[in-house]
Amino acid sequence: MNVTLITGRTIKQGMVIEHKDSTMYTDANAICEFDPDDMKKLKVSEGDTVEVSSEDGEVYVRAVKSLQSPHKNIIFIPMGPWANQVTSPETNSVGMPSFKGVPAKVELAKDRKVLTYPELLKQSFGK
């Protein structure tokens, strides 16, 4: 399904900023918030792994029903290493990348694993 990707802050994520070395960090950030109707359309249920892809990459995250809906065709991923696999580095020469309003695709990927950030960084940057 074609969607618009928004990234940003959440209170859950803010609460684990000092605990990035814990699983709480993955739980709070490796997620994708859906509009409930979009979940039905995609046959995705809470907790399923989904693949989000854009011109700049793809990432596997957990589907979460948005508590701040409706927002049809808009998915939300908290700012962080997972979101930034798919955000756009386009800054229009003003310093700011495109963190919001990125055209993206999302589909169910039940059997795929959501990586922790060390796994994710290792995979992306070989370090």
Binding site: T4, R9, M15, E18, P89, P118, L121, S124
Partner: protein, 434 residues
């Protein structure tokens, strides 16, 4: 048990200064008045695992080293670099930022803060059209209209509404909430929108069009039946609310600075606010994120003339966000070393920028483990500013406060400022061939 009152919360730009922290033999027992975010930060002081000595990358992992060795390596990296990037600065105090700026100047590098990926566009807009603003106490005492646009304080600044805007009683607003109207504009029906008197759900990326419609209508022009997903009726009503209030304030967030149009969304919104002053009193305030991102821009501006993205490679400050800011410098490969203080670019920059960060020599000065410390070659843990170290921080409305020290850092940990001073001294030694 020690009780610390009037503690400044070193989390977000709201910079609450009424926290009461109870400390018992080195443990934080509670942080009264703090929101979930602030509370989490104070409670994290009880975290078991914390690195107490610097670590260098070795093979697959890291190995411990001394502070002296770490300082020498960091200094050498900065001296060797043709254009080092010194990035971060938003979660430390001004006293450390000031040394960081001197260090950037000394090594001929670029110094930039997370403003460039947060409210940097707001600054660019201010530099084009200005900035009619007020302090938050003015909002508390006078405002009868609070607009939040592209900002979700319930998540990012949880006490903002209770301290300054929606709820408090003020000199001219004795009935508090009853005297105030709240309007929220966002692309999602956020939790903040949930408690608004009026909510406008904007089509993603069309904020600029909507501001343009407000301004056109304000000057008696015609607008179509719908703009940015909002009906002409709602746009007209909302504009009426703005014109007819006694004192309005627009709080805007990264929902505007990060969406298509970026600084131009703010530019246009600032002009709208300025023009509303022909009808009533209207101002705006950016919802700055980290607790001292504003302080960095203040210190860098009075010292260099420019607020972020300052390039010292030629010995004098050069400023051109889009050229001298971190994401472009990394994506274009125009920096050959990176020095991060109190920030997490590896988590918060797009993949392409992080890829270059991972390639070049790198140092992170940071209390906790983060994606950035994971990728950096050298990690120097530091004391936690605003809790273990006192110093100056500037609120989102530029009000300066002195963050308090409420506990001692673990033995062997230095403050950001001390570490930076050691590195600066070492850099000068190396340059003078000592």
């Amino acid at each position: 048990m020690e009780i610390h009152t009037d503690v400044i919360c070193p989390f977000c730009g709201t910079l609450c200064d009424d926290i009461e922290v109870h400390v018992e033999n080195g443990r934080v027992m509670e942080a009264l008045n703090a929101c979930k975010l602030g509370n989490a930060k104070f409670m994290s002081m009880n975290k078991k695992h914390r690195h107490l000595v610097p670590r260098i990358r070795k093979d697959e992992g890291f190995t411990k080293t001394t502070i002296e060795d770490a300082v020498a390596r960091a200094a050498q990296m900065l001296v060797d670099a043709k254009r080092p990037l010194l990035y971060g600065w938003a979660t430390t105090v001004c006293e450390a930022q000031s040394v960081g700026i001197e260090l950037a100047e000394e090594v001929g590098g670029v110094i930039d803060s997370c403003a460039s990926v947060c409210h940097g566009p707001s600054v660019l807009a201010i530099q084009d059209v200005g900035f009619p603003s007020v302090t938050l106490g003015e909002v508390k005492n006078r405002a009868d209209l609070d607009i939040y646009w592209g900002s979700n304080p319930m998540h990012a600044h949880p006490r903002h509404m209770s301290r300054y805007s929606r709820y408090p009683r003020g000199y001219f607003r004795e009935r508090g909430q009853l005297d105030r109207t709240v309007v929220v504009l966002d692309v999602r029906k956020t939790d903040t929108a949930g408690i608004a008197d009026k909510f406008l759900q904007v089509t993603p990326g069309d904020d600029y069009e909507l501001v343009n419609a407000f301004r056109t209508l304000l000057h008696g022009g015609e607008i179509p039946d719908e703009v940015a997903g909002i009906s002409k009726k709602d746009i007209t009503e909302t504009l009426e609310i703005m014109k007819s209030c006694q004192f309005g304030v627009l709080f805007f967030g990264v929902g505007l600075t990060m969406s298509p149009g970026k600084h131009r969304n703010i530019d246009n919104a600032i002009s709208l606010v300025a023009e509303l002053n022909k009808h009533t009193k209207f101002n705006l305030i950016p919802m700055r994120g980290h607790y001292n991102v504003t302080g960095f821009s203040e210190v860098l501006t009075w010292q260099s003339g420019f607020p972020f993205g300052v390039d010292y490679t030629r010995g004098y400050p050069q400023y051109n966000p889009g050229e001298t800011t971190s994401v472009e410098l990394l994506c274009r490969g125009e920096v050959d070393a990176i020095f991060v203080v109190g920030s997490d670019p590896a988590a918060n920059f797009p993949k392409k920028a992080v890829a270059h960060l991972a390639k070049i020599p790198s140092v992170a000065i940071e209390p906790h483990e983060t994606p950035t410390t994971y990728l950096c070659d050298l990690n120097i843990p530091s004391a936690i500013a605003g809790i273990e170290v006192e110093g100056t921080a500037y609120r989102m409305d530029n009000v300066p406060l002195r963050a308090r020290k409420i506990m001692e850092p673990p033995a062997g940990l230095y403050s950001d400022r001390e570490i930076l001073e050691m590195i600066l001294e070492k850099v000068r030694e190396i340059k003078n061939g000592v």
